[in-house]
């Protein structure tokens, strides 16, 4: 939780620094609205269960036209699926920070696509219990735990903004993120800030992709 506050403070500092600019450039504060929803509604089907993900965003137009700065932070706490006793559920907790430089590509006034890229920094910990059936000598149960797992990555995405009224913005992004983490004793199923990592991309090298739907409010 402490890390989350620190990251939020960092974002506030950033936004203060940028707020000196002219009033013609817009700024939005937003929140990811679908990230944790499926894990609560469909805990059995979705790849994570009962997970809290809070992802606030800050969007700010840059002085150059069609350029935008995107700052995001996040906190995730939950667990993954239990597949087998030896492929157990992983309880994870982590905080992350992302920044992106976003470019608006205009082909015609109706077709607008936003492309963004930037760094992702995440710190997470996870733990769980694994179990092997022992019909002859009794079952074996072991623990695994990794704390302060730091990951650095690069994210790239396509995005689309939909204006709702004067002040609201619905934002949809398709994202790709890859990076490396410091400690990799146990393969990770979900890395906060990166997302679900498929087999082969879940050891020291992490790769993930996904969708994000955010709702934003105009603040300047």
């Amino acid at each position: 939780m402490k890390k989350l506050f620190l990251l939020t403070a960092l974002i506030l500092v950033f936004s203060q620094a940028y707020s000196q600019d002219t009033l013609t450039r817009k700024g939005y504060i937003g929140l990811d609205v679908i990230n944790s929803l499926p894990s609560v509604i469909l805990p059995k089907q979705y790849y994570i269960r009962n997970t809290i993900i809070i992802e606030p965003y800050y969007l700010l137009d840059l002085p150059r036209p069609n350029r935008r700065l995107v700052l995001g932070t996040g906190f995730a706490h939950g667990s993954t699926h239990q597949h087998f006793g030896f492929d157990p559920s992983q309880h994870f907790k982590g905080a992350y920070f992302r920044a992106a430089h976003e470019i608006k590509k205009i082909r015609n006034p109706r077709k607008m696509l936003r492309i963004g890229y930037g760094p992702v920094f995440a710190i997470a910990g996870y733990q769980g219990k694994f179990r092997f059936d022992g019909p002859t000598f009794g079952d074996y149960e072991g623990d695994f735990k990794e704390t302060n797992n730091v990951a650095l990555g690069i994210e790239a995405y396509f995005g689309q903004d939909f204006k709702i009224g004067d002040n609201w913005l619905l934002r949809f992004t398709v994202r790709n993120v890859m990076g490396r983490r410091t400690n990799a004793d146990t393969y990770v199923q979900y890395f906060p800030g990166f997302g679900f990592t498929p087999n082969g991309f879940n050891n020291r090298f992490l790769y993930s992709g996904g969708l994000s739907l955010q709702i934003h409010y105009n603040v300047r």
Binding site: H83, F84, F86, D87, P88, F130, F132, D133, G134, P135, T136, F137, G138, Y140, G142, F144, D185, T186, Y187, N199, G200, N202, N203
Partner: protein, 158 residues
């Protein structure tokens, strides 16, 4: 040709998946061979076992056609002791190993046993040789010459 590329990629992926050695991911077994069974084995019991069924099954198979006994080893200790009942003789065998539980990609946690730093066995047989091999070979096994880990084998001379 271009359309075939994703299919080819998928096939390569499937072959790769099929050749990762996860080991048994269950209670491990040691294979026991007797150099000659002139004494006629009657039954085998493991100490500290909660259920002897798996061992009884193996003895039955051994008395039938099977050339070796596959005896479960304990995941709860680095040693397992067996008592062998022959027609007019009783022998004991303790084997030692070092348990390994680790995470392996595409498998989840795997269980393995390796050569201990100390002695390999204690036995009342005239000679016992214990051979150690991993139960789960590391990395991909490489199609098509898959060579999975064979685990612990024990050669007993009565």
């Amino acid at each position: 040709m271009k359309q075939l590329f994703p299919i080819a990629l998928l096939l390569v992926g499937m072959i790769q998946q099929g050749c990762i050695d996860c080991g048994p991911q269950a209670e491990l077994t040691a294979r026991v061979y007797f150099s000659q069974d002139s004494l006629q084995l009657d039954s085998v019991y493991a100490l500290k076992a909660v259920n002897q069924n798996a061992i009884a099954k193996q003895v039955k198979a051994y008395l039938g056609q099977q050339s070796e006994l596959e005896l479960p080893i304990s995941m709860l200790a680095d040693t397992t002791t067996y008592v062998f009942y022959f027609k007019d003789r009783i022998d004991t065998l303790s084997i030692y190993y070092e348990r390994v539980f680790r995470y392996k990609g595409d498998c989840g946690f795997i269980t393995d046993a390796r050569k201990p730093s100390g002695r390999h066995c204690d036995a009342t047989f005239s000679n016992v040789d214990v051979y150690y091999d991993t139960y789960a070979r590391s990395g991909s096994l490489g199609f098509p010459f898959a060579n999975p880990g064979t685990g612990i084998s024990i050669q007993i001379t009565l």
